[in-house]
Amino acid sequence: MKEPSENSPAENVRVPLFGTWRKAYIAVAIAFVAEVSLFYFVSRFFS
């Protein structure tokens, strides 16, 4: 895993698994939507 240095800002480092930090944040947001949808589905389906 390449570490950022003084000359390579963190945003420019290739992020393992996601490529960029922006994509990593979008993946987290998608995971949130999926999780809340699941909770909502469980609430509604079994009520």
Binding site: V13, Y25, A31, F32, E35, V36, F39, V42, F46, S47
Partner: protein, 565 residues
């Protein structure tokens, strides 16, 4: 508890504490003590951040909350993933670039010394009190149910953690938390499996979940706009966002965790790990509480879960009334068991009218049981006005002690101690570091050697451990322990977060304006807390917004005029 349980409990706690000591035995570097070393990678950071937030209260109170009121508490965490994204994108690069040890050092560099000290002071007050509750919470419950001496239980939970945190600092805390979290996750997984195993053999998992849903226990998401409701989707998303942003962005007990190791990639991945896994983990712990509720549809629960308190009250002149309540409770519970069977039968036939009728009858019976429990609590209160009648914190541990096999009981008591120790370790580590870095070094001994600061850090960590243990020894039980921690945090976090957001985003605001705004905001939040009934999560939003708006206003008016003069 049997000898096997004690063996599992003590061997687990001792092994983790010894591991922490062994990992740091030859390390006498101040930087490593305060900031950790490069052996701390993102996985360790992720588990360490998770273990810091998940205290013993999480595992005692949360299942009890689900048992009483359903899954709505999970909404408290809806803002967390977005807050962690902001921390990763905005806070972490600044902390790494400036190479700060504490978050409040940044305030000194951005504003002035008094704003740095205000931020550090608010942290010390809030976290110092919380550290006491963190140790006290499991001790009061375990001592009540197991008959242990309260003071000895507090000392057992406190001394272990003070010892390895003081000796090993940040590196010891991060590495021990990794294993503590492993024990916690394994223990909760085993508990869940055991609950399912103990359910009636003719009841399928889906039927159990369906009964929980019909009883209104799976209400995880509530989209209503009601400011008086404690947990809704909106209060969780917005209030929870500010609470989490303040907690993860500005609370040194968390900042120290993700800055450990010194790698920006490690810090970010550690937090994103939590952004994805925190919600499922909380959902799972709440779901365990719901499954305990289902278990107690077939097995009669105690009339009051704090059994020692109930038995004590039974010996008084109110004993007759309690006995009558118990008889009524037994009768209604027997009827309700038939009601649950009627519902499961109706579900098998898939007849909607039958399901609706059985659900309605079951809810009526549950309401009757709740009424009897309410009357019991009033009777207990009449016997002992100081008694805390909220018994939700006792639900899960009562189930563990009464229905799980030996060995697993020891493992689950170890889970509770591990959780208490992991949270306390981060708190003591941060309290000691903040006192040295933000107060002792700049104000008392500015030019001492690293060795001097290392010894001062160790002594101050031990001192804060003493304060936390003393507070725990003299604390009183509050309504619901996890809420107490969150309420305490929410009162202070809004103002602290406001200071940081001004620092990041309102570049024209200077120290005096933000300092005055923060003091005003904190006073306003305290007045509102004591005079209104606003849901506590909103204090995070309010405190933050007041600091942001007032600091801009003050900078443009009062302090602009002063600067010109």
């Amino acid at each position: 508890m049997s000898g096997l349980d004690y063996a599992v409990l003590f061997s687990t706690l001792l092994a983790i504490a010894l591991y922490g000591w062994w990992k740091t035995r030859a390390d006498h570097d101040l930087g490593h003590y305060l900031q950790g070393d490069s052996s701390i990678r993102w996985g360790t950071i992720g588990l360490s951040v998770m273990a810091t937030q998940a205290s013993a209260i999480t595992f005692l109170s949360t299942p009890g909350q689900a048992y009483e009121s359903g899954m709505g508490f999970v909404q408290n965490y809806f803002g967390l993933p977005f807050a962690l994204i902001v921390v990763c994108a905005v806070f972490i690069p600044i902390y790494h670039r400036l190479k700060v040890v504490t978050a409040y050092e940044y305030l000194g560099q951005r504003f002035d010394q008094k704003t740095r000290l205000l931020g550090a002071f608010l942290f010390l007050v809030q976290r110092g009190l919380a550290a006491g509750i963190t140790i006290y919470a499991p001790a009061i419950i375990l001592s009540a149910l197991l008959g242990w001496n309260l003071c000895l239980t507090i000392l057992l939970a406190g001394l272990f953690v003070v010892l390895y945190t003081t000796l090993g600092g940040t590196t010891a805390v991060s590495h021990t938390q990794k294993w503590q979290m492993a024990v916690i996750l394994a223990g909760m997984g085993v508990a869940f499996g055991m609950i399912l195993y103990r359910l009636p053999s003719d009841l399928s998992f889906l039927q159990a979940v369906s009964v929980a849903g019909k009883m209104g226990k799976l209400n995880a998401v509530d989209f209503s706009f009601d400011f008086q409701k404690r947990y809704t989707f909106w209060s969780g998303l917005l209030g929870g966002f500010f609470l989490a942003l303040s907690y993860f962005g500005t609370d040194q007990s968390q900042v120290q965790r993700y800055l450990a190791g010194g790698s920006i990639v490690g810090s970010r991945f550690g937090l994103l790990f939590n952004a994805v896994l925190k919600l499922p983990m909380q959902f799972f712990i709440l779901f365990i509480g719901v499954m305990v509720f289902i278990f107690f549809q077939f097995e009669k629960p105690p009339l009051f879960f704090n059994q020692p308190a109930y038995e004590k009250a039974s010996q008084t002149e109110q004993g007759g009334k309690l006995a009558a309540l118990q008889t009524r409770y037994d009768q209604v519970f027997a009827e309700k068991q038939s009601g649950v069977r009627a519902l499961t039968t109706a579900m098998e036939t898939r007849s909607e009218p039958a399901i609706a009728a059985a659900t309605s009858e079951l809810r009526r019976q549950q309401g009757e049981l709740d009424t009897i429990r309410g009357e019991t609590k009033q009777t207990l209160k009449a016997v002992d006005p100081k008694l805390e009648t909220g018994d939700a914190d006792y639900v899960f541990i009562s189930f563990v002690l009464n229905y799980l096999p030996h060995g697993i009981i020891g493992l689950l008591i170890a889970v509770i101690f591990c959780a208490a120790m992991s949270s306390s370790a981060s708190e003591l580590n941060a309290l000691g570091s903040t006192t040295v870095v933000d107060f002792y070094r700049p104000l008392l001994h500015p030019n001492a050697s690293d060795q001097h600061y290392l010894i001062a850090s160790k002594l101050l960590t031990a001192l804060w451990g003493g304060v936390a243990i003393s507070f725990a020894l003299f604390a009183n039980l509050v309504e619901n322990l996890i809420q107490a921690i969150n309420i305490l945090g929410s009162i202070f976090y809004g103002s602290i977060l406001g200071i940081f957001l001004v620092a990041f985003f309102l570049r024209f605001v200077r120290g005096s304006a933000v300092f005055t705004a923060a003091i005003t905001s904190q006073a306003l939040v305290l007045v509102l807390f004591y005079t209104t009934k606003i849901g506590y999560l909103w204090y995070n939003v309010l405190g933050c917004v007041v600091v942001l708006s007032l600091s801009a206003l003050f900078e443009k008016t009062i302090f602009r005029a002063r600067a010109r003069a």
